[in-house]
């Protein structure tokens, strides 16, 4: 029982990373109907950028093995540094997302959907290569940001301070996103554009700006996920974007692509399924289990868990 709870907790942490990445896929898909293959690689670059920002704040990779935690003076400064890092990294990653959209997708706005898909794949290769040139082919160690602070719950289940921080950050970001989309004027513009591109234009919405902002926000969330992933797994490698991106995309579809709460739900679900399968079946079969569940769910609910049966756009 303890083992199950422990694995569920691990899955929750892992799932929150998938959920953050999945949000970018789902937002972009909702608005321009494009599977943004480069998104996973933006996540990877986000991890590297966060690493650079951490270095800028004086947290170096070489200190990775320092057991006392990296920032002098306890937990509060650590959290402040992390928050600053996350904000800065998100900003830079967001800008990369905007550039990618501008260079590779906007010229193809009126082209067939599959054309933009190939352009996205090309962009993914480019970003992967950037990551490879920047940090080399080997996995890059990530500093242990929090010292080994952990709590023991119910006797034997341990949860790290880091895990709590990760889940809190994810939930905050998702809540902010939900608020932004539901309550602000820009969010309303995004929903309108996603629903009907042309009518929104007639209503005076700056569609190009809205799409740019969508890419910006999606990439920002991926950047945050990059830092969190690095903290959690203690390494980042240029191919990680592809791996995590595939899972996150699966999560987005599982929840119902284009649906924001769906992406969160899908992310958490994939994380949980993975953790349970790793424990009780075998890590080798985990991809089979994850995609098997995906296919089963889509066969029963063809539009994902929370997706509505929406018509395909022209």
């Amino acid at each position: 029982m303890d083992l199950l709870v422990q694995q569920l907790l691990n899955g929750l942490v892992k799932g929150s990373i998938y959920a953050l990445i999945a949000l970018g896929y789902t937002m972009v898909y909702g608005i321009v109907e494009l599977i943004n293959f480069a998104h996973g690689d933006i996540f990877m670059l986000g991890g590297f950028i966060a690493l650079a920002v951490l270095g800028f704040f004086g947290v170096a990779i070489s200190q990775a093995l320092n057991p006392a935690g990296l920032v002098q003076g306890g937990i509060l400064p650590t959290i402040l540094v992390l928050l600053a890092t996350i904000l800065l990294a998100m900003l830079i990653t967001g800008l990369i997302g905007v550039i990618v959209e501008r260079v590779a997708y906007r010229p193809l706005r009126n082209a067939p959907k599959l054309t933009a898909l190939i352009s996205a794949i090309g962009m993914s290769f480019i970003l992967q290569n950037v990551g490879q040139i920047w940090h080399g082919p080997a996995p890059v160690p990530y500093p242990e940001v929090f010292a080994n602070n952990s709590f023991t719950l119910f006797g034997r289940v341990t949860i790290g301070l880091k895990d709590i921080f990760v889940v809190l950050i994810c939930i905050t970001l998702m809540a902010t996103l939900q608020f932004f989309i539901q309550r602000t004027k820009l969010g309303k513009a995004m929903r309108a554009t996603a629903q009907d591109y042309d009518t929104s234009k007639l209503m005076g919405i700056n569609v190009n700006l809205t799409i740019t902002i969508t890419f910006f926000i999606g990439a920002m969330l991926a950047g945050a996920a990059g830092l969190i992933y690095g903290m959690q797994v203690h390494s980042m490698q240029f191919v990680q974007g592809y791996q995590a991106g595939l899972k996150a995309f699966t999560a987005a579809v599982l929840g119902g692509i284009g649906n924001i709460p769906g992406a969160m739900l899908g992310g958490f679900l994939i994380g949980l399924i993975e953790a349970v399968s790793d424990q009780y079946i075998s890590t080798a079969w985990t991809p089979v289990v994850v995609f098997g569940v995906l296919i089963l769910i889509l066969t029963l609910r063809p539009s994902g868990l929370l997706g509505q049966q929406v018509p395909e756009k022209a």
């Binding site: 009518t199 699966t250 080798a284 395909e312």
Partner: protein, 463 residues
């Protein structure tokens, strides 16, 4: 690049005429024959003896390497043609096509290698002929194509894509994991795991009573078991000719399929599934047949892969392979067989020859001309970036693909520069004009189905 391949024989005899007439224009037949002639002549012109005789150095790549690479490219040409049936004709986005490639390759590896003997301690020895397994593997892959296609029937658009992607991930993972099945304390290695199945048989060729002495002259090994010849990897030329032959046959077959009732039904479904169903097309059967036909071609390519490489492992069939084939189809010109052949050749040769040799060539260029920047940079690290840039730029410059199908060209010409809103209303008008300006396009058989329904979302809203 000359690459279109069409019939080996001009339309002379009655049967031949019937096979070719319906599906090929005169231009296609002539162009195909010229391309075929060029391809057949290639090993005779570009070979070591000639290079020495003309006192020339190899251009970019040594002759045997080029011929071997072309034989590998033939597998990808077939894969691209097969995926084009699913994505181009029937309009079903398949992101896990490499799975069927894997079924074909593993079928051949099981039926034509020492693996089963090893597995059963020599009790079962199966060494089926390459030619027989071509058909068996096509059937096996087609069966799995229909099987894996069946859950997708209710799905639309990208949900379908993700389910195929799921299968594309599951199939190689299963082949990998079946290499280590633990039952109690014994572990069974069914598929060779990550190392795969090695020592797969080479294709054999009958000598038609000429005796195995002729094998050496044809650069093959004699096969004492059958009295025929066996291909070997030292001389890729027999592979090259053999595979070109298979490609030619499949191009004729798929072209005929495309203009058959079934092919027209695929295109009708691609344009508007509901309208197609209303016209009496059995959409379930038609879609499954698209998956099965596409998969059958992948099965054939899988056998060719196993026979050429002699090694079948799970890593050759991952998501990257699926994406690579999809790129070939879209980049070449989705829906157009000749387009996807060109796309497959260009992308395969880019990846295997151009990008591999580019770093050294650039460095050499820099040293020769004293351009420090060219000479000093380590270009090999930039391979994928160059590849990515090629993809992005090509798509932006030619969104319709290199050799688009007439339909798609017409659609895009009607659309260029206009926002989607206006296009949705005016699509019919726009492309009608385009087609009037382009009589060749109108003559294409495809435009029989030119209903321009792709841009009319209103009917679908009710679903």
């Amino acid at each position: 690049m000359q690459a279109t391949k069409t019939p080996a024989t001009p339309p002379q005899g009655r049967t031949m005429r019937r096979v070719l007439e319906g599906s090929f224009t005169r231009g296609q037949i002539i162009g195909g024959l010229i391309a075929l002639a060029v391809l057949i002549a290639l090993p005779f012109i570009y070979n070591k003896d000639n290079l020495t005789a003309w006192n020339m150095k190899a251009i970019f790549v040594e002759p045997p390497v080029l011929i071997g690479t072309m034989a590998d490219a033939a597998q990808y040409v077939i894969l691209a043609i097969g995926l084009n049936i699913v994505v181009g004709f029937a309009g079903l986005l398949d992101l896990g096509y490499a799975a069927f490639f894997a079924f074909g390759a593993y079928t051949y590896a099981f039926l034509a290698s020492g693996h089963l003997a090893q597995l059963t301690g020599g009790k079962i020895q199966i060494h089926l002929s390459f030619w027989l397994v071509l058909f068996i593997a096509a059937a096996v892959s087609a069966f799995f194509g229909a099987l894996l296609g069946s859950p997708t029937l209710r799905l639309r658009g990208d949900y379908l894509a993700i389910v195929t992607l799921g299968f594309g991930e599951i199939v190689p993972a299963v082949f990998l994991n079946l290499g280590n099945i633990k039952i109690g304390d014994t572990s069974i290695n069914l598929t060779g795991g990550v190392d795969g199945i090695s020592g797969v048989d080479k294709p054999g060729i009958a000598t038609f009573g000429l005796g195995s002495g002729i094998c050496r002259n044809l650069k093959m090994n004699p096969n004492p078991l059958t009295g025929g010849c066996r291909l070997n990897n030292l001389n890729p030329e027999p592979y090259y000719f053999l595979y070109i032959g298979i490609v030619v046959l499949l191009v004729i077959a798929v072209s005929n399929m495309r203009s058959s009732r079934l092919g027209r039904a695929w295109m009708a479904i691609r344009e508007d599934e509901i309208a197609a169903a209303a016209m009496g097309i059995d959409t379930v059967k038609t879609k499954l047949l698209a998956f099965a036909s596409g998969a059958a071609l992948a099965g054939v390519a899988g056998v060719m892969f196993g026979a050429k490489l002699s090694l079948v492992g799970p890593n050759s069939f991952d998501f990257n392979t699926s994406v690579f084939i999809l790129c070939m189809v879209i980049l070449g010109g989705i829906g157009n067989i000749y387009g996807v052949i060109v796309g497959a050749l260009i992308l395969y040769l880019t990846q295997t020859i151009f990008l591999i040799n580019l770093p050294n060539a650039l460095n050499k260029l820099g040293t020769d001309n004293k351009i420090e920047f060219l000479a000093k940079t380590d270009w090999s690290g930039l391979k994928f970036m160059i590849y990515g840039i090629i993809l992005v730029v090509l798509m932006i410059v030619r969104p319709e693909g290199l050799i688009p199908s007439a339909r798609r060209k017409a659609e895009l010409r009607g659309e260029t520069g206009e926002p989607r809103a206006l296009v949705a209303g005016a699509a019919g008008r726009g492309s009608d004009e385009a087609e009037r300006a382009n009589p060749v396009a109108t003559a294409e058989r495809e435009s029989l189905y030119d209903m321009q329904t792709e841009e009319q979302p209103t009917e679908r809203n009710d679903r």
